[in-house]
């Protein structure tokens, strides 16, 4: 059952990622990205990461992508006009990308030690309590620094997007 779920949602993720790269209109790319994030959330659930899966949907799918969709609607971003790309990118782009993926695949299969198979339910260590435990004991400093980072981001966004006072 988990194999079937993995195959379905991995296919959905790859198809949506292709769609993101190939679509002309930004809003279709945005919705494809939401599809990628949703299927990745299901894959996280298969790997036992229930808190991160929900956080992925809430933070990425429900906040970051809403921001993207808002900006696309506000700016009325239209379809992209195709312009001349460089000769090198046209000819050697896709083969180089395929070579990159092949190299990564080869490294994963040969260099890394043999890894276990994924069985849903064999590890239940991804609960909210354990993440909370780690966040407030071992990773307390990064947690506090990240909250300052969010404050800086809020200030930056407000300053950059405010109306000019003439």
């Amino acid at each position: 059952m988990d194999t079937v779920l993995f195959i379905i949602f991995a296919t959905v993720a790859v198809v949506c990622a292709f769609n993101l790269v190939l679509q002309k209109h930004p809003i279709s790319s945005a919705l494809s990205l939401i599809g990628v994030m949703g299927s990745l959330a299901v894959l996280y659930l298969l790997l036992g990461a229930e808190f991160i899966a929900m956080a992925q949907v809430i933070v990425y799918g429900g906040a970051v992508m809403v921001l993207f969709v808002f900006v696309i609607m506000l700016l009325n971003a239209g379809s992209e006009k195709s312009s001349s790309k460089s000769w090198f990118a046209n000819v050697a782009g896709i083969p180089l990308l395929l070579a990159f993926v092949a190299l990564l695949g080869f490294l994963i299969r040969s260099v890394l030690p043999p890894m276990r198979a994924v069985e849903f339910g064999s590890w239940v260590g991804g609960k909210a309590e354990q993440i909370g435990q780690m966040l407030f004991t071992e990773y307390l400093l990064p947690f506090e620094v990240v909250s300052v980072l969010i404050l800086i981001a809020i200030l930056g966004a407000v300053v950059l997007a405010q109306k000019e006072i003439d």
């Binding site: 945005a30 933070v59 992209e80 990118a89 896709i94 994924v118």
Partner: protein, 104 residues
């Protein structure tokens, strides 16, 4: 019908494919919003890697790193989109090929 369980390397290969697609989108696309979305795709692929290794090593540290990547990506999206709004206000275009000089 009982299918064999999925080996963990398949998750890593999926992560590599998504990362490569993100790189392709980043290099090929002309609209600055789509370029930004390709960056988010790359970050998601890396998150998948973190969670996979966390499952393999049976440690929760991968989840924490993934959590921080998510937070940083959210902050970056907020500021980046504000910058995009400013570019649109000043240049009137969203194609990165036309934003190629510091002078307006």
């Amino acid at each position: 019908m009982h299918l064999p369980p999925v080996p963990l390397s398949w998750y890593l290969i999926l992560s590599a494919i998504l990362f490569a697609l993100g790189v392709a989108g980043f290099i090929y696309r002309k609209s600055v919003i789509t370029v930004f979305m390709s960056i988010e795709l790359m970050l998601n692929a890396v998150n998948l890697s973190f969670i996979t290794f966390s499952y393999h090593l049976r440690r929760i540290d991968g989840h924490i790193y993934s959590f921080f990547v998510m937070v940083v990506a959210a902050a970056e999206a907020a500021v980046g989109l504000a910058i995009i709004l400013t570019i649109f206000k000043n240049r009137g275009t969203l194609q990165i090929d036309e934003v190629d000089s510091l002078k307006l």
